[in-house]
């Protein structure tokens, strides 16, 4: 894992340098036209970038969560989700438990944010909880934790800010040059005029090309990091099929996300705005085609390590270059079979006979049913998820003797509440005032 973080860091620095050069170029041309000094433009571009970077570093995480309408949940709200996140935290050796957020949206999706592994957060939609089983959910969480471990959450927001600054400056310059750029030329003498025109055209061309290049760099980095997080997920769970089947379910879901825009879309595990059934990675997509990602995970023959992922990656995409550093591929110790094989306990219909039960294990194809408590019917699962939403909003649950469950809103002031089914009155303890 360290090798990957290291190699990521080296490549990231290169990308950041290219982005910085673009930013400064655009800034100087911008300055040349608006304040008649390229130094002024450089300073302006730098100031905007610095301001946005500081904002993104310290507030980006909370901004993202707020824009997506995510609520923080506690362990009691959804113990299974909490446990899955903790399992992946352990597998990835994260220094701290990520915070968990729930987004009330029927479309299945998830994302991770956080400037460092100590302050990470993962957010999942209620649709994801309703659609996926435990193994699939584990795969998704592992992918998100992979983003955190590989420092993608920090890097993508930082490089995103640079992209944003380049695009913004170029946009302003382009519009003004098209519509009001004549003023400067008329003031200058005719001899310098020709050179000015050439500079103007060159500047204009730069303003058109620079944002494009910046965007292509950003998106290429984004796609690569999705593959990498998939590989990490396979390593953490030792079970690529979990993530593969989750990606399949998420990508074929016809439900569109509600609170999403082009800024937040690249953060999700599957881009909520990307068209379904794309099979090729285009220059302008934020994520690799889901079909490829699934196929790579499914054709990881004989293991779940980085080496197997890399081989599968090259087979499916037809690329000859290894996309992981050689030192990571050599890394031993990642073998299949560390994960328990799927075992279903056979329950004899006759009197329980211990010895038969223990040896009568049946190897099944996919799901681990062994001991894992999970609501079986879709209705029960949906109930569990919506309860988690209620609980995260501070509703209190009271179980009546008639088995009805009363959900009392947090701002309910009266001391008693009547059951709607049997009219029993339940006393409410006063809510402790939040201090």
């Amino acid at each position: 894992m360290w090798e990957i973080i290291q190699s990521n860091r080296r490549k990231s620095i290169l990308l950041v340098i290219i982005m910085a050069v673009l930013l400064l170029l655009v800034g100087s041309v911008f300055g040349e036209y608006f304040v008649q000094s390229y130094q002024g433009g450089l300073i302006l571009a730098f100031a905007i970038w610095l301001l946005l970077s500081i904002l993104a570093y310290f507030q980006g995480r909370n901004l993202f969560l707020a824009i997506s309408g995510a609520h923080k949940i506690q362990k009691a709200d959804h113990p299974r989700l909490f446990n899955i996140v903790e399992e992946m935290k352990i597998a990835a050796a994260l220094p701290a438990m990520p915070e968990i957020y729930l987004i009330d949206d029927p479309a299945p999706n998830a994302f991770a944010v956080g400037q460092n592994p100590e302050k990470a957060a993962v957010a999942v939609t209620t649709g994801l909880l309703n659609t996926l089983n435990r193994d699939e959910l584990q795969g998704v969480i592992a992918h998100e934790v992979g983003h955190v471990v590989n420092r993608d959450t920090l890097f993508m927001s930082m490089i995103g800010v640079m992209l944003g600054t380049v695009v913004m400056l170029a946009e302003i310059a382009r519009r003004t040059l098209f519509f009001g750029g004549g003023r400067r030329r008329s003031r200058s003498s005719s001899g310098a005029g020709q050179a000015q025109v050439i500079i103007l055209i060159a500047g204009l061309a730069l303003m058109i090309v620079a944002p494009l290049i910046a965007r292509i760099i950003y998106l290429a980095a984004s796609r690569k990091r999705e593959y990498l997080a998939d590989a990490s997920a396979a390593v953490f769970t030792r079970y690529p099929e979990g993530l593969a089947s989750a990606l399949e379910k998420i990508s074929v879901s016809p439900i569109r996300m509600r609170k999403v825009n082009s800024v937040t879309a690249p953060m999700y595990i599957i881009n909520p705005l990307q068209k379904l059934h794309d099979t090729r990675d285009s220059l302008f997509s934020t994520h690799p085609a889901a079909k490829n990602r699934i196929q790579i995970l499914r054709s990881m023959a004989g293991g779940s390590g980085y080496l197997e992922y890399d081989q599968a990656f090259r087979r499916i995409t037809g690329e000859s270059k290894a996309f992981l550093p050689a030192s990571a591929l050599k890394q031993p110790g990642i073998k299949p079979g560390l994960r328990k094989p799927a075992v279903e306990t056979v329950i004899p219909t006759a009197a329980p006979d211990m010895t038969r039960m223990m040896t009568g294990a049946v190897i099944t194809g996919a799901v681990i049913t062994d001991g894992i408590q999970e609501p079986v019917t879709p209705q029960a699962k949906a109930r569990e998820t919506s309860d988690a939403v209620w609980k995260s909003k501070g509703y209190r649950f009271i179980r009546c003797e008639c088995d009805a469950i009363l959900k009392v809103p947090p701002d309910f002031k009266r001391t008693g509440v009547q059951c709607l089914r049997c009219n029993r009155v339940h006393e409410l303890n006063p809510v402790p005032e939040p201090t």
């Binding site: 446990n83 399992e87 352990i90 223990m358 009568g360 294990a361 001991g371």
Partner: protein, 184 residues
């Protein structure tokens, strides 16, 4: 004069290189220690959960005394185990005993509907997963550390400063070693 200088620089480079290798070994050894403490946390959590589980099951399936006794004795045995190898065997026996307890519980619908039991079952299953994942992380760390102590040239440093290879942690579940019978 220049030869002396070159010699001195070479010595300095060598010393820093040795420092680097030494520090690398220390870091890896600490990673192994940290990973082991993670396993310990999870094992302890499992030991703490078991009395609750036994109490809950007793209320519904009192005559499964034998299974319950097996779980309790496996827990006590596991709590007193020392070192990765012994702990591995003891925890394996405990996993086996727990599995049989959950299998038995299938025959008691009232027990299976009990909220407390369901919550405990999720907790224990997840703890089992966490043990497996922390074991996976521990073994990865041990592999990295052991490799470093064995490959040239860091093995020389490891030998000089007494970096010993670490033990892997394998949980041996008695039933899992047998070839499972497949029934159709």
């Amino acid at each position: 004069m220049t030869y002396v200088l070159i010699f001195l620089v070479a010595i300095a480079v060598l010393i820093f290189w040795v420092f680097g290798l030494y520090n690398g070994l220390v870091r890896l050894r600490n990673a192994v220690k940290n990973a082991w403490s993670q396993i310990d946390v999870q094992l302890k959590r499992r030991h703490d959960l078991i009395p609750n589980l036994v109490e809950t099951v007793k209320g519904y399936a009192a005559h499964e005394k034998e299974t319950l006794a097996r779980v309790i004795s496996a827990r006590n045995f596991a709590m007193n185990a020392a070192g990765p190898a012994e702990a591995g065997r003891a925890e394996g026996a405990l996993s086996g005993a727990l599995k049989s307890l959950f299998a038995v519980s299938e025959a008691y619908p009232d027990l299976k509907a009990n909220q407390n039991f369901l919550a405990l079952q999720e907790e224990l299953t997840s703890t089992e997963n966490k043990i497996a994942f922390s074991r996976q992380a521990y073994n990865d760390a041990v592999m990295r550390y052991n490799n470093m102590t064995e490959v040239v040239p860091s093995n020389i440093i490891a030998g000089m400063f007494n970096f010993k290879a670490s033990e892997f942690f394998e949980i041996v579940i008695p039933e899992e070693k047998d070839v499972p019978k497949v029934s159709f």
